[in-house]
């Protein structure tokens, strides 16, 4: 489940009878946080997330959130003006305003409209669908619709639409040391990690405590069962052609967002040559990032893992990798 959604089963919130949910719903200038950034402020003082990179704005939001939690109002829309100093501090290039909506939420109450809307979004994301949380800014209840559905709002009513996409899936073929570092680092990027290997002694929960899924079997068949979308990245880190070739055959013509293979330029060229001989085109073969990862210079498993994830992030945002 995305970490920025409120869910009744969330252990971190279960002790909080009431929280304030702060959502960045408007800004002039370019903010360092995207619209939709959320912060949860608990009655106990607990803070989860942030609507800016910190500083005075978050402090004002927390102060207002504390007041909302202690009071009886359901919501408050804060418009905070920034002078140039504050603007610099939170990453705006010049002064402007940020609009933050504060909502009072009972996180343990499944009938609370915010909890219900977030739960529906979480369920949709779990199914691999994108959800849109509709937040009326003036009145009306928060609700969730599918990406292609119209929000339930009257004409002229101001609403904030917050698209929640499923997390990126990182499929790691080869359960060696680089894979171990990948699952640890990918967790910080909110990626759903899947370890794939034909060797049950390598692909174990003991070696991969942070992997979301561990699947042992024929790697080319396992990867073929994962719905191939632009939000799926597949990395071949077994450094073994017995897995590289069949998995590439299974995925070269699929729409996965990233395909990378560990190995030298020479090894990459040899694998491409072999697949070219089987009828794969140069365009198809050019999709394989090999040598894998951005060239950061490191050779340790964690350094290689970092370079791989850096390349995946760069490709995801359309930067040259």
């Amino acid at each position: 489940m995305p970490t920025n959604l409120i869910h009744p089963d969330d252990a971190a919130l279960s002790a909080e009878p009431v929280v304030a949910l702060a959502t960045l719903v408007g800004a002039t200038g370019s903010t360092s946080k995207k619209l939709g950034a959320k912060m949860i402020v608990g009655a106990s003082g607990r803070l989860i997330g942030g609507v800016t990179i910190g500083g005075c704005v978050d402090a004002q939001v927390i102060e207002a959130a504390d007041a909302l939690v202690a009071g009886t109002a359901d919501r408050r829309l804060l418009s905070i003006s920034l002078d140039d100093d504050e603007a610099w501090e939170i990453g705006l290039t010049c002064g402007g305003t940020v609009d933050v909506l504060l909502q009072r939420v009972r996180p343990n109450d499944a009938s609370d409209p915010v909890v219900a809307a977030h739960r529906r979004a979480a369920e949709m994301v779990e199914r691999g669908e994108s959800a849109v949380i509709v937040t009326p800014l003036d009145a009306g209840e928060m609700h969730t619709v599918g990406e292609d559905e119209a929000p339930d709002a009257a004409a002229g009513e101001r609403v904030f639409l917050d698209r929640i996409a499923p997390p990126m899936t990182l499929v790691i073929v080869g359960a060696g040391h680089i894979a171990m570092s990948l699952t640890t680092l990918a967790r910080e990027l909110d990626m759903h990690t899947v370890i794939v290997d034909g060797r049950g002694r390598y692909a174990t929960r003991e070696r991969f405590p942070f992997a979301d899924e561990i699947r042992v079997g024929m790697p080319s068949e396992i990867v073929a069962t994962i719905r191939p979308t632009a939000r799926v990245a597949v990395v071949l880190v077994a450094h073994d052609y017995k897995y590289d070739l069949p998995v590439l055959r299974a995925l070269l013509r699929s729409p996965v967002g990233y395909l990378g293979m560990l190995g030298s330029k020479k090894r990459g060229a040899a694998v491409r040559d072999m697949l070219r001989g089987e009828g794969y085109t140069d365009d198809e073969l050019a999709r394989v990032h090999s040598p894998i990862g951005l060239d950061l210079g490191g050779r340790a498993p964690a350094e290689v893992a970092l370079s791989i994830l850096a390349e995946i992030v760069a490709v995801r945002y359309g930067k040259r990798a």
Binding site: G198, R199, M218, A238, K242, P246, V247
Partner: protein, 118 residues
């Protein structure tokens, strides 16, 4: 051997098999499935799927080519000596298990076929 790795015969899943077996070399990670369609006691079709090394793929290729049309009992008699000759020689000792995995897996698929026919 390399010819059978680069252009393996009978690679890919078999439609409606009536016998099959899977095998793996747990440390090196070779994985293989052999599927058979047996009709009136003879192997009508044999195919394999593998994420495996060159020796293992070549071995599966020559075996599935050889047994087509043979009786189930006759196919079960194929041994390592024949296989090594078909692969142009015995692999180094550390790689023999790669060559033998398809033979062992085929043996279990044929046993499955015999059981199905009884």
């Amino acid at each position: 051997m390399l010819e059978h790795f680069r252009r393996p015969r009978n690679r890919g899943a078999l439609d409606s098999p009536n016998a099959e077996a899977e095998g793996a070399n747990p440390l090196c990670g070779d994985r293989l499935r052999v599927q058979l369609r047996v009709e009136r006691g003879a192997v009508a079709e044999a195919r394999f799927t593998a994420d495996a090394c060159a020796i293992c793929v070549a071995s599966a290729s020559v075996l599935t080519e050889q047994i087509r049309g043979m009786s189930v009992c006759g196919a079960a008699e194929i041994g390592a000596d024949w296989l090594y000759r078909a692969l142009d020689g015995e692999p180094p000792s550390a790689r023999r298990k790669c060559a033998l995995l398809p033979l062992e897996t085929l043996g279990r698929a044929l046993a499955d076929a015999r059981k199905a026919e009884q």
